[in-house]
């Protein structure tokens, strides 16, 4: 093996090493700048989704700001809390805004909070989880009017 070949191999190897590093950096770069706002494929999917029980109405989210949080199903059905700027805690504990008499609800189950424009629901590490439809939520999720959130056997929604 000649000296020249070995030198070329050495330089080639270093070049490949840096090529790898730079491609990793470029993937990270596109990861930072490449988070696209709502992409096209998501919209039709949302429209096509089944809307049982609400089929008469348009799927478009009702306009206006929610003013109350209402329990529509479960042991405490009918109760409601007015919405302010403060976060609202739901659960079986005494510090909850509405004390839910639901065996499947944790002491501090979920929190509704707003950033001034948008309401979010966040699970607080409950045992049985908080669900939007059939999906268990793991992070704060923005919710609008009429979106039903399920905690244990209780269903709550934001109303006008």
């Amino acid at each position: 093996m000649s000296e020249l070949t070995l030198t070329l191999i050495k330089l080639g190897f270093l070049a490949v090493l840096w090529l790898f590093v730079l491609s990793a950096v470029s993937v990270i770069r596109s990861d930072i700048f490449g988070t696209k706002a709502p992409s096209q494929p998501r919209q039709p999917k949302q429209k096509a989704a089944p809307t049982k029980g609400r089929s008469g109405k348009s799927r478009k989210t009702p306009r206006g700001n929610p003013t109350t949080l209402k329990i529509v199903d479960g042991p405490n059905a009918g109760q409601s809390v007015p919405l302010g700027d403060e976060p609202i805690l739901l659960g079986r504990g005494t510090d909850a805004a509405i004390r839910l008499d639901d065996d499947y609800v944790s002491t501090r189950h979920a929190r509704f909070a707003t950033n001034g424009e948008q309401w979010f629901v966040e699970d607080l590490g409950s045992t049985n989880g908080t669900y939007l439809g059939s999906q268990r939520i793991t992070t704060p999720i923005p919710i609008g009017l009429g979106i039903q959130v399920r905690l244990g056997k209780t269903i709550v929604e934001l109303q006008k």
Binding site: K10, L17, V21, A24, S39, Q118, Y131, T138, T139
Partner: protein, 457 residues
């Protein structure tokens, strides 16, 4: 709706491409070691390359299946480091056996440990479907960490190798439980601080401009820290001691957002270092070797050899297989950074350090985007411990700071280190999969739908 919908990209294709590149780097390094040291490509390069590609594709498929939204660059970066480390260990086996044919070869066992590590990585991804489930086991992990740290001190099980009693020998295998304890402690600190951080940050007295928390809030964590550090002093493992202390201080800082903790931690560390210098002979030896290595060339031969190796490497290195890194004692574990610097030069060593930097950056990024406090703290702690470990090892080898015995993650020879680092990457990928996963679509409002079954274990 004014809140923009964030659509994360999976980038799994990019990950596959980078993975192939990383495997290529490993195999090319192996082949050029053979070319440089023995003048021919090792006969089993194709076999090894094929096996590595199969393993890499299998790992990629597992990630695609169980963590589809996980960070796309972590896995290739780690594979590249591991491949480079394996090639260098193989190269040092050749070199050391040229000096003395009786010396042990490590490359094969390291390959086996890498396979075990990848299995642990896959196992964690499959078994831990939601990292928050680990939070329920906070105290279990705390107890496990202490148990693991005590293990080497038990007579019959523990063994003293090279002056440090940090080894456990079971069924002919020796491993360092301290590496596993690091992960357990990170989980324990994260779980504990999530619950107590408000109390730690708010309740308490203010002394000398620093808010000190109440004793009962700090009690368990201080006890845990004292026990771990105490054990480490008895085991004479200063590197790990420094690592655990740094992890502890930084996680406290991240949890409470109080810079005072860094100050207190720095002062405590300074006091500890001074005490170590005054009380322990082996600490003083390390300090002297750092300040004036050439004052006692016989005793500081290892550090001096490492420095000569780095100088011999220069800008572009001697080329794989063509330097003489085998002359340095422990060139395959503690001094693998110097061995890399000799054969790949500053250019190659910088690339390796950038790879480490990118891994840490991804870890901190995961911590930033993570929306639950436990995941945030855990990711930050794991990423920081990784960064500190690399800094302590490379800084020690290049004589920036006194040399302490810690393993270079993924590169240094040592089974427990490789396995636990793969486990750390598994945890990080799991957290990043959770944070990058898009929010469920708010479309089907039929609450009578079958809900997702979640197994509580």
């Amino acid at each position: 709706m004014t809140t923009p919908v964030w659509v994360p990209r999976k980038r799994r294709g990019a990950e596959l491409f980078l993975t192939f590149l990383a495997v290529f780097i490993g195999v090319a390094a192996y082949a050029s070691v053979g070319l440089g040291a023995e003048g021919r490509i090792p006969a089993d390069t194709y076999k090894l390359g094929g096996a590595l590609i199969v393993v890499a594709i299998a790992t990629h498929l597992i990630v695609r299946r169980v963590a589809p939204y996980a960070d796309p660059v972590l896995l290739p970066l780690v594979i590249a480091l591991n491949g480079l480390g394996l090639a260098m260990i193989y190269r040092l086996d050749i070199g050391r056996q040229q000096i003395n044919p009786d010396r042990a070869a490590f490359a094969n066992s390291q390959l086996v440990w890498t396979a075990v590590g990848i299995a642990a990585f896959a196992g964690i991804l499959v078994a831990v479907r939601d990292h928050r489930r680990l939070q329920t086991l906070t105290y279990t992990f705390g107890a496990a960490a202490i148990g693991l740290l005590i293990l080497p001190l038990i007579p019959g099980v523990g063994q003293t190798i090279n002056g440090a009693r940090i080894w456990v020998v079971l069924l002919g295998f020796s491993f360092q439980p301290g590496e596993a304890a690091k992960v357990c402690l990170a989980i324990f600190f994260a779980g504990y601080l999530v619950v107590k951080r408000d109390a730690l940050a708010l309740a308490g007295r203010r002394i000398l401009g620093i808010d000190l928390p109440r004793g009962r809030d700090l009690g368990p964590i201080l006890a845990c820290w004292l026990i771990s550090v105490g054990i480490l002093v008895f085991q004479r493992d200063l590197g790990s001691s420094l690592l655990f202390f740094g992890l502890f201080v930084v996680m406290l800082y991240v949890a409470t957002e109080r810079p005072g903790w860094i100050v207190v931690g720095g002062l405590l560390f300074g006091a500890g270092a001074y005490f170590g210098y005054a009380a322990f002979g082996h600490v003083r030896v390390r300090f002297d070797a750092w300040l004036d290595p050439f004052g006692d060339p016989d005793r500081n031969g290892q550090v001096i050899n490492g420095l000569f190796g780095l100088a011999h490497g220069g800008l572009l290195g001697q080329g794989l297989g063509q330097g003489s890194p085998q002359l340095t004692p422990f060139s395959f574990s503690d001094f693998i950074a110097a061995s890399m610097g000799e054969e790949l030069g500053l250019t190659g060593l910088m690339a390796i350090l950038v790879i480490y930097g990118l891994i840490v950056e991804r870890g901190l990024r995961i911590a930033l985007t993570c929306r639950d406090a436990f995941g945030k703290l855990l990711a930050a702690g794991l990423a920081f411990s990784f960064a500190l470990q690399v800094f302590v090892v490379v800084g020690g080898v290049t004589r920036l700071i006194p040399l302490t015995g810690l393993t270079t993650p993924f590169m240094a020879q040592g089974g427990s280190s490789v396995v636990m680092n793969w486990a750390i990457i598994g945890l990080l990928l799991r957290i990043s999969d959770q944070t990058r996963r898009p929010a469920p679509e708010i479309s089907s409002l039929d609450s009578n739908d079958e809900t997702q079954v979640v197994r509580m274990s």
